[in-house]
């Protein structure tokens, strides 16, 4: 079996295009409800480079999945800009966004059962996933069996997904999601409900996809141990980018408006409504608690 080579984006069959960069600039998103609106994102600035692997961390309801859906073009932001490669989603129609999902962007939703047809085999699922690309007049870079072999799950190619264990089922989901060689792979809680070993297998598969295809990969997870396996983490808190982690070290992030979220542990020292002095030092700034004179 010949493993396809990773090159720049090409229409030639048998070749893949690598990753794509993603930029969110001042993204605000509101969910409209009868009576009141819910603010999910309050101004997210985020840059993800081509071929990067990023894990979005954060508590439930803080906007991680919304960020992911906006990156997938499944929703349009209430304000701000989302660009994926050269594509500014504000300027794209629904059909154009759909066309992107048929080729360049792949979205893996939460739950193994929802990303694959449970009654179909992995091979058939990959065929199904490639259908959108074919209908768009493009040829997928590999056949289903080539992809399965490339990802190392070819032994289960003919077994209906419903019969596979949960971990393998999720690996097939990953395979289905990269069936059309997307440049951006978005995964919402891909390891939820998986045992730690199975979770590690799935993450390793993401890493292999990233290595082999150069795909930009963004996942949402609650699990810090999973996030730790990614070279970059982004913590979403209160609808903003709260922090970033690189190679195990966490950093606060200054957003476009100059705001910065302090880590929760610092809030004991600097509780809300505290006044601080910002003192410039040679390689940065220093915050000191300030007492107002009466």
């Amino acid at each position: 079996m010949t493993v396809p080579t990773v090159t720049a984006r090409s229409e030639e069959p048998g070749t893949v295009a690598g990753g794509v960069d993603v930029h969110l600039i001042g993204v605000v998103h509101l969910y409209r409800q009868s009576g009141s609106d819910i603010v999910a994102l309050r101004g997210v600035d985020l840059d993800i480079g081509s071929g990067e692997m990023v894990a979005l961390l954060g508590p439930s309801g803080m906007g991680k999945s919304t960020v992911l859906r906006l990156m997938a073009g499944l929703m349009t932001p209430s304000a701000g800009t989302v660009t994926v490669g050269p594509h500014d989603f504000r300027r794209l129609s629904a059909a154009e966004r759909r066309a992107l999902r048929a080729g360049e962007i792949s979205f893996m939703v939460q739950g193994s059962g929802t990303n694959v047809l449970p009654f179909a085999t992995p091979t058939q699922n990959i065929w199904f996933a490639q259908h959108g690309t074919k209908v768009s007049g493009k040829s997928p870079p590999w056949t289903p069996s080539q992809l399965l072999e490339m990802l190392g799950i070819q032994d289960f190619a003919s077994v209906p997904v419903a019969r596979l264990p949960l971990g393998l089922k999720q690996q097939v989901s990953v395979a289905a999601c990269v069936a059309s060689a997307p440049r951006l792979l978005l995964a919402d809680e891909p390891t939820a409900q998986l045992a730690s070993e199975a979770s590690a297998d799935v993450v390793r598969l993401f890493q292999r996809v990233n290595e082999v295809l150069g795909t930009t990969i963004v996942i949402v997870t609650h699990d810090p141990s999973i996030a730790a396996m990614f070279p970059r983490t982004v913590t979403i808190r209160d609808g903003r980018v709260g922090a970033e982690g690189h190679l195990g070290e966490e950093y606060a992030v200054v957003d476009g408006s100059g705001s910065i979220q302090l880590p929760p542990r610092v809030l004991e020292t600097l509780p809300p409504n505290s006044r601080v002095r910002v003192i410039e030092i040679p390689d940065g700034v220093e915050l000191r608690k300030a007492e107002l004179r009466e």
């Binding site: 009868s34 992107l100 990303n115």
Partner: protein, 1001 residues
Amino acid sequence: MLVMAVAAVAIGTFGPIYLHSADRSVLNSALDHAPSGNLGLTLQPAHRTGSMHQLEAAADKILQPGGGRPWFGQRISTAEVGFTSVAAGQKYYSSLVDRSGVCAHLVMVAGQCSSQTGTVVLSTRSAKELGLRVGQTLHLSLIDSSRTASLKVTGLCAPNPSSPYWWGIDYFGYGTGPPNKPVIDNAFSTTSTINAIAPRALIDHILQVPFQRTSLAVNSVSAFKSMVEHYKTSALADEGVVVSTQLPHVLAVASANERTPNSIVLVVDIELLLLAAFALYFVASRTAWERMADVQLAVLRGYRPRSTLSVALAEPIVVVLIALPVGLLLAWTVAVTAATGLFGPGVGASVTLLALGGALVSGVIGILAVALGARRVLRAADVGEAPGASSRRLSTWRLVGDVAVIAIAGAAFVELTVAGVSGVSGETNADPLSAFAPGLLALALGVVAARLLPVLLRSSHRLTRSRSVAWVIATRRVARRPEFSSEIVLVAMCTALAVFGVSGWAINARNHTVHNSFAVGAKEVLTVSVRPGVRFLPAVRSADRFGHSAMAAVVERATDGTTLAVDTRDMAEVMSWPPGLSATGSTRIAHRLVPRGLSPPVKVTGAALRMTVTARVNARPGPQLSVDLFDEGSQTVDQVELGTLATGTSTYEAPIVGLCPATCRLMDIAISWTPPTITSTQAGSADLNISSFSELHGGLWEPINAGLQTLRRWANLTGGAHLSTSSKGLTALVELNPDGTPVEVSPHDVSRYLPAVLTTRLEAIDGEPPPVIGLDGGTINAHSVGQVLALPRVGSDAALVDLEMAERFLSGPFTYATTEVWLSSSAPADIVSRLAANGISVLGVDSLEARGRAFDHSGVNLAYNLFLIAGMAAALLGVASASLALAASTRGREAELAAMRAIGIPAGSLRHSIEAEQALALGAGVIFGTGAGLGAAAVALRSIPEFVTLVPGPPLQLGLPVILLATGLATTLVIFSLVVQLGSSALVKRATIEKLGGSLK
């Protein structure tokens, strides 16, 4: 879903298949039940000089179909000449007949068939009447000719008038004809014999061309009728041949009968098809979530809308496409299986183009239904849409839809109530809005139930604050889950159509049974001929061994009315007298038809009469004393002159030999005076006392039981006499009429007015007693003892009288009367032979059973059978869709139920909650559906044309078949509850806590 799709296609296909078979059945039935001779063509020369050759030439020009079986079969030629023959002083009338192939159809009981010139075959009873045996000679005189002939009797045959070979022509007319011109059966001979003894001008030729009943295709009827009409015209113009046939009439009746079920079948089938489509939609929408993940996946994978749509619809459309041939096959199989029972022998089930069209239309409707059912999937898959806006739009559309459905249903119901099903009474074309009213009403009430139940449940929950977990879960689910709404609507529609269909079928069956029985008059009615000289009424009573099972009846038909005279002694037991026909029952009616206080008739049977009279005559010349006798055998009146009445005691005698061969009834004793010159001043009187009245029997004078000492046994109906009685006999003080009009003293065995039950159209006008037609064709003043809309067997414009009473009004023979014997269900099996032994021969039979058989394959009945089929199909559809819906929801509810089990709700409570929610939904549907079905049946059935246009008769019985409906509903509910119990148990068993791990999202 496949089951529902197959059901929808099968229903859509079954209607056209059923209609085609029903048309064939109606046509067959019309042809089979047409009287012999009403089918086929009868050719006769337009002039007496015509010949058989001329008829054959004309018959050669009859068109036959281009392919298939020929319409007409082998011809039958007949030559006939009338003759008389005298035996024992009596002249009998008959015809000498040659008919092609006759020897194959005569039932020979002695000797051989006639094959040589100069020979003849007689029927056994004709031979007996003429006193002839095989080998003896029949001497005959030709009618309208002086020629005579003598033919050798070579054989005797048994009459078989009912054989279709005779074409309904009365070749065995023995006993018919007036008493003074008795007719015997035809004699059968050869053409050479007829040609040898009769001049050509006296011989009647006919050529009969039989119609092959099964050769005519349903869709060729119009062309065939046109051909026959054209042939009749051309045969007369070109060949000088008159063609007579009842075929166009019979076919027109069949066509009219075929039209009757068309609208009903169409309406029933469309309603059922829409119901099946709704059931399909229901199941499709309940199973739609199973495809939701696939569709969402397609959206995520960037499928184009068309591709996403195909993912959503591919499966259900494939299911419907698979259902097309399966449903077609199922409908055909059901129709073939039921064909013999429903449509009669020889009628199969064909998949016509219309049936294929029905299948395709059903398929299209099915695809639309599943597409609608799948809309949830497409909507849910639209991951970018905010849920609130979608549900707001849905609520608005639902409200608009509900209002529209209820408004249309209300309009349809009002239309149905005001104008009836047909809009205009008596027409068979249904008003579409009215015709669909039952279905629309069911839909509307189903919608009302579906919207009302959640509101009621929310209120009841607030009020009762039940602590039963099962009840709380059930009521909240039913109140909040939208899928229960469509379940309630579906069950309501199924129940309503089932109730309506079964009610329609039962009411139709009941009314037509009553009307058939009314049309026949009794269980069986024999049209009979009575041997000359035989008294009909006593003969029937004598044949009725056990009594009250055979009733003599005489029907006198005239242009201005019909008189039905029956033996009221047996009327209550034999005659069909449906409830509601009259204010009182038939027993009381029978009593009222015989006036009280009448004396028995005075019967005379001897060879001479003798009357001893003491008279004082005051008139010149002396008045004439006579008696009028009515011969009950020959039904003739004879006046017997006893002589001139003279003062003093005298004995008056007169021979009556031959006048009363059986029995005579004394009509009156008449005193008539004819003065030499008629002036108004002349007067005469005669006082007479009749002390004895006797008849001569075997040389002895025997007193006649005339009741001369009993005044109430005598009457003076003509006036002019004062009557009194004493131990010395009957005294009459008579004022003689100078104009010669006799003063009559009559036995008081008749009343002034004949008691009669009259139909409303014969009721008295301005209080005058209505005249009715007597059995001798005369007019009798009647006294109404009851009023009905119509009378059994004779219909409207008719009077019912007592036969014995009506006979006492006879002054001559029956004229246009038909003699019949009506039989009850208890009539003995040998009644026909017993009647024959008493001189009564059966000419024809009309029975409730035969009419029932004919009605079984009538258009109306076939239409109402479809009501029953539709009702049963609707019930099955309801049970099946509710069961399938429960099964389909299993997978979706596993997680929910597992979660409840995980928080400690017992499995039993969960099971009970499922049972309770299904009971609530199904119960609401069944209750509202039953209401809709009963309401529709109560309003619609009374105006259905087939009931309205029935001949006048007993009132329609529109009572709903409560027991049948209750049984059906109970059975359905038992099945429902079994299905729900099994389903809920299985569902709760599968909802284990482990399922929570595998249930994502």
